[in-house]
Amino acid sequence: MIIRSSILLCCSLISSLLFAQDLPPYNPVTAERLLNPEESNWLMYRGSYDSHGYSSLDEINTDNVDGLVPVWSFSTGLREGHQAPPIVNDGYMYVTTPQNHILAINARTGDLIWRYVRYLPDDLQQFHPTNRGVALFGDRVYMATVDAFLVSLDALTGELIWEVAVEDYYNGYYMTMAPLIADGNVMVGVSGGELGIRGFVAAYDVMTGEEQWKTYTIPAPGEPGSESWPGDTWQTGGVPVWLTGSYDPELNLAYWGTGNGGPWMGDTRPGDNLYSSSVIALDVTTGELKNHHQYHWNDSWDWDEVSAPLLIDFQRNGESVNGMVHPGRNGYLWFLEREADAINFVDANPYVYQDVFTSIDPVSGRPEYDMTKKPGTGYEANFCPSLWGGKDWPPAAFDPESRLLFIPANDNVCSTMVGEEIQYSPGRSYMGRGTSENGGFFVRPGTDHIGELQAWNVDTGERAWTTTFESQNWGPVLATAGDLVFMGGTNDRYFRAFDSSSGEILWQQRTNSGITGVPVTYTLDGKQYIAVQSGWGVDAQREQNLLNMAKGENHYVPQGGVIWVFALPD
């Protein structure tokens, strides 16, 4: 671990900016505020610990959303995937970008307050050049970096207070998630499942940066679940955690989604490979792994299940279930029950075309596979959905009033995959995927669309509506009490508002680039705003390249990040 004291840079410039902008006093973020975030702000990745991505604001609603106009915009000056939500705290907005910049912006004016620029090592490799946002606590801002550091900065000045080496980037570890702060700890998980890492979640004292605990997602020999990893495969088996967890304060448990095992072909690591492609419940105070549910075993499809489940209490058979809901990358919509000592399976059904699972055990939820659809070393297989799954990382949202869950889905795209033998070398590619025709990607014949926005009633388990797009969809979702759903995600660069009861598009704005940023909403002086980053890149662009190849087209999505803020006219 490396902890350094602060080094002040450019402070005169920062101070003068602060003075000149006449900003309000900074409102420190307390544990109480994180537990009960006010609707006027957006204090964390999904707005609240339950990951609903929902706001009770309703000034902007189905009756007036067609009048929404841009208020200000801000160019980040960077290319690649701008996926972070603008985090807003009483007039201060914090936005992260690819390459680990943080922009602190006066939310009223769009003026820059300070900018943190991280100098990245020349020999770094960025499989996913993006970042998914800051966490706030006290008068600090926290960011996990692509060179595997956790940094803590002064929210007013951008001064670096401390930084901690979470792991060694040279061995393939990196981070893209927004940290999770609870119970005095700032928690992060690591990416690098393509590079032979051993995944973990680690917690650091929110003030000092001292490591509090570190829990691996792959058990060491002798630990429960270790029998599911043969030989030394546990040491390099992947199972990253690269999205922010949900947190249940009553149980003091954080729920984290985990990635697939590595190398990608399951036959290189025979066994269930716990706790890959699972949800794990970690005690926030101690890091103890209290319970888990594995969505699917011995993955061979690159189906990460890293999206944290939404903590939703739903109805089943006339009873209320203290539940969790997860639209899986494996194409199934999972309903689970969360208890202090267990995660219980409730039910699961496909929400996109899925041709791998042949059945789901009604008690355990364990799927059985059509083994002809499971690629292996030297065995090529076609399977649907594609390696990006029914839903990749873009988060779903839940409206507790309408009881609808909104899923940004992709249907009708499939993969061809074959494994090849690969040797482990620290920090080098450890996927073991061979070459397949057309990049190993194809569109199901006879289908007319890929992207979807789906709405599901969590109490009945039935789909309410689906709005389709010819384009792929990489749009995170925001739901509001204005009976609206906001989402971009398509390759035509639109940001859209949908009627949450019907899926009808009520408003759309064409932006500079494609939108893969997480939308948020907040108020300033009582007026509601919607903010989102537009900046296409990473896997959305990668899928575009493969679609161009598959369709013989050359659809171009410009890159370059811009923060957009919208409101109704005064």
């Binding site: 450019c10 690649e80 020349d122 490799q125 670096l160 930084e163 393509e194 920090g427 996927m431």
Partner: protein, 198 residues
């Protein structure tokens, strides 16, 4: 603007070097590792003129690269440079790695022909987009490809970008053949790796 330079790439490399490379080299050679005149350990230096090339993978792993060990238009293999005097393998940075294959010299774009030696060519293994290892191979179109973001590079045209988001060609390492062994003729032509945006 504020920025963090309290821990930059050089600091990190120094840490990596002290913990990994020197230790590893010490184990391998049983000798102390001298630092170069530039203050950089020789295993960290980019391939130097006169260096030999050593296969890092494949049937001839750890052997010197000779033209006859490569088949025409075969899948590129990774290789590292080695100082023939000290036997120091330049494995101290992933930026030193090259991908080698053999091509028909007559079909190579004219301005790159001087960099080939008896048909053997070497390109940096590090993608110019975000720094991933360019390990994939499209045998049909004779393109090197990056597994991260699908950038594609034409081996007959100086690794120029023919697909995907990479902004620049892969750097090319000029080669010559001396006594049947492939030798580095000069330093990389072009910048190795990605360029950070600010």
């Amino acid at each position: 603007m504020s920025s963090s330079d309290s821990r930059n790439g050089k600091d990190r490399e120094a840490t990596t070097l002290s913990r990994r490379s020197i230790f590893k080299m010490g184990l391998a050679t049983g000798i102390a590792v001298p630092m170069s005149a530039l203050g950089q350990a020789p295993n960290r230096l980019r391939p130097q003129p006169g260096d030999q090339l050593v296969f890092e993978e494949g049937a001839n792993q750890d052997e010197l690269v000779r033209p006859e060990l490569l088949e025409l238009e075969q899948r590129p293999l990774s290789a590292l440079a080695r100082d023939p005097e000290t036997q120091v393998l330049r494995d101290g940075s992933r930026l030193n790695r090259v991908m080698i294959t053999r091509i028909d010299p007559q079909k190579l774009t004219a301005r790159y022909q001087a960099n080939a030696a008896e048909g053997v060519i070497a390109y940096s293994a590090v993608c110019t987009h975000t720094g991933c290892d360019v390990i994939n191979w499209d045998a049909g179109q004779l393109r090197m490809a990056c597994p991260c973001h699908e950038s594609q590079f034409d081996i007959y045209d100086g690794a120029n970008v023919v697909g995907g988001p990479a902004p620049r060609p892969l750097a090319m390492l000029p080669l010559e053949v001396v006594d049947g062994v492939v030798i580095v003729a000069a330093g990389f032509r072009g910048r190795v790796g990605f360029t950070q945006q600010f």
